[in-house]
Amino acid sequence: MVEQAAHLLVHGEIWTLKDLFVLPNEYVYWSIQIVLYPYMTGLVAGAFVLSSLYHVFGVEKLKEIARFALVFSFALLPVAMLPLMLHLQQPFRGIHVMMTPHFTSAISAFGIVFMTYAVIVASEIWFVYRKFIVESIERLENKQRTGLEGLLLLIYKVISLGVRDISPEALQADHKATKILAGIGIPVACFLHGYAGFIFGSVKANALWMTPLMPVIFIMSAVVSGIALCIVCYAIFMWLRRWALPRGKNFFLPDQLAGTMQLTTDDLREMQEHETTMTAKYLRIFMILAITLELLDIIFRGYTAVKSWDILRQVIYEHDFYKIFVLQYGIGNVLPFLMLILPGLTTRRACVASVLVLFGVLMMRWNVVIGGQAFSLTFDGFMEYSLPIIPHSWETFKEGLGGVLLVFAAPFVIFYFLNMIFPAFYNDDEAH
């Protein structure tokens, strides 16, 4: 007997409010970290698709942001796994998913899909930056090195994999490889995220989740959020660089440090303006697709009105009305869409709109994940989730506001260091 365990709080009990009839074991088991998981994988996939628009389809206008999107996608990649680890009750056993996958489960594919994707992105970055890596080795070898530069040289030597050939033929081959990898990468990125949608869409016990549209809706919103994040971050980093350039703060300008570019603030401004407004165009297209699918889902449910519609209607139009129609569709979709289609788009307006889009997609994830647990399996009661703000324990930290901030901050920290090795804003006419 576990006698000392009196007044034990069950996982989920602390943040779940029950109303009317809810089964005794029902709680909001999948909380904020599971909201963040599809959100982060969506950002990864979206950023990659954006970079591929240039690499595969040769959209020249997106050249600058494409390289940034690729490196940023790589920085986001480990963070896509972080929410899952924070959510697991037995995080140290997380590796079982890769070691002993049980193939009838949608989650078991995670290891395979995730690793495939990671390998593709890593090798694409390698091909894109190979010339830069070799040049950096030569540059660093022929100069008096500081301690940090010595470390950088070592890193470059390791990741060059001993290949120093940068003849035109070799570079041509790199170019071709990049294109092929980006081409394979698009379906894999879509699969990575569509499959996250499948994890939800295939839960037959959940009336809100179960729809074959779920993977497609997830892919579209993934591309939307990924592009929006790239616009915001690209613009912000360019502002930072414009601030750093005249002040000689070279730690924000690794490309400048490498001496491969001679930039002026005007160049940077022009580049920033051009890229953000161009990318915003693609954002609009994917937004239309995403919203169409989401509305189709709601209309179809209302029209067919099967048994579960009774409770879903109450959740969608009453309990979660504010979150769905005001926050998600209003502030997160309609408002930024209007901002993007009004003529004379500026970087600043594109950025504000993109931030709203990011918020809208986050709310969409919230409304799917938390909304799907807002009603009882019996359809006779409701559950409400309240996000723990002040952490009282490890659990309320990781599945509360603390965990959210941790997950949001992590990609930027990774990107800062990754940018030291692979300058995301490195500009070279010969490069891809």
Binding site: D19, Y29, Q89, Q90, H96, A205
Partner: protein, 257 residues
């Protein structure tokens, strides 16, 4: 030794060793026990006999080390109260671990509901537990195979292998699963596998003073529960999910799911 001789004697040795090794086939005692095609555990609940005393919940928690005060339970009892206006009120306060001792119906945030006796057309209790489905959704969705079905029809969780992702909890249409507050892995009714596989009874069925709950072998036509299932009108919960539940109910009606 000539090469030919060497090959010859190697072949003889390998084949001889293989023959004798084949006699040492690894036998898992659990598999031998479970492979009995004559055995398929099932459960029968007679809702007419249940009075909502909660002895089954208490016995289950004690037997299976589920902390008594923790608000999760492997089995619970639901109360249904129907009124003249056609309303149905349901509750199961703390899984009815202390039994139903009040006429007030617990509506959680909406408070306690008082339905006057004269308005009640019918009221009854329904005990619930894991249905040990033939095509269990939880077994299908477990990413590491920690949840599995035994050959004799019981769905179990391997506490040493469960990663605690909660997918099975989400996947179960009956809400029988939860995270164990001490072990921190998915948990559910085992049909007291440790007892029934040694010829015993489940803790809940043993504790039930009215014989509302019974465990038995569905493959044995002479088993008391098989006889009832064959000769009376019984139902299962939520057959629309296609999980083929193996827990049968006498006296189900459409409000129960």
């Amino acid at each position: 030794m000539k090469r030919r001789d060497f090959l010859k004697s190697t072949a003889v040795f390998v084949s001889g060793a293989a023959v004798s090794m084949s006699a040492l086939e690894m036998l898992d005692p659990k598999e031998v026990l479970a492979q009995n095609p004559e055995l398929r555990w099932g459960f029968l609940v007679d809702t007419h006999k249940c009075v909502g005393c909660g002895m089954c919940v208490k016995a289950c928690k004690t037997e299976n080390d589920i902390p008594f005060d923790a608000n999760v339970t492997r089995t619970w009892v639901e109360r249904y109260v129907m009124t003249r206006e056609g309303e149905t009120f349901k509750d199961s306060p703390a899984g009815a671990r202390n039994g139903f001792t009040s006429k007030l119906i617990d509506q959680n945030e909406s408070g306690m509901k008082n339905v006057p006796d004269k308005d009640i057309t019918q009221a009854f209790f329904v005990p619930k537990l894991c249905n040990h489905c033939e095509l269990a959704a939880c077994v299908q969705v477990c990413p590491v195979g920690a949840t599995y079905g035994t050959k004799d029809g019981v769905v179990l969780v391997d506490r040493k292998w469960c990663i605690g992702c909660g997918y099975c909890i989400m996947g179960c249409p009956y809400g029988v699963r939860f995270f164990h507050p001490v072990v921190h892995t998915a948990d559910k009714c085992t049909l007291c596998y440790h007892r029934i596989s040694k010829g015993g009874n489940t803790a809940c069925a043993q504790a039930c003073p009215f014989g509302a709950r019974k465990v038995g072998n569905l493959r044995d036509p002479n088993d008391p529960i098989s006889k009832v299932i064959m000769s009376q009108r019984v139902g299962v919960l939520r057959p629309e999910y296609g999980t083929k539940p193996q827990c049968y109910y006498i006296g189900l009606n459409e409000e129960v799911h």
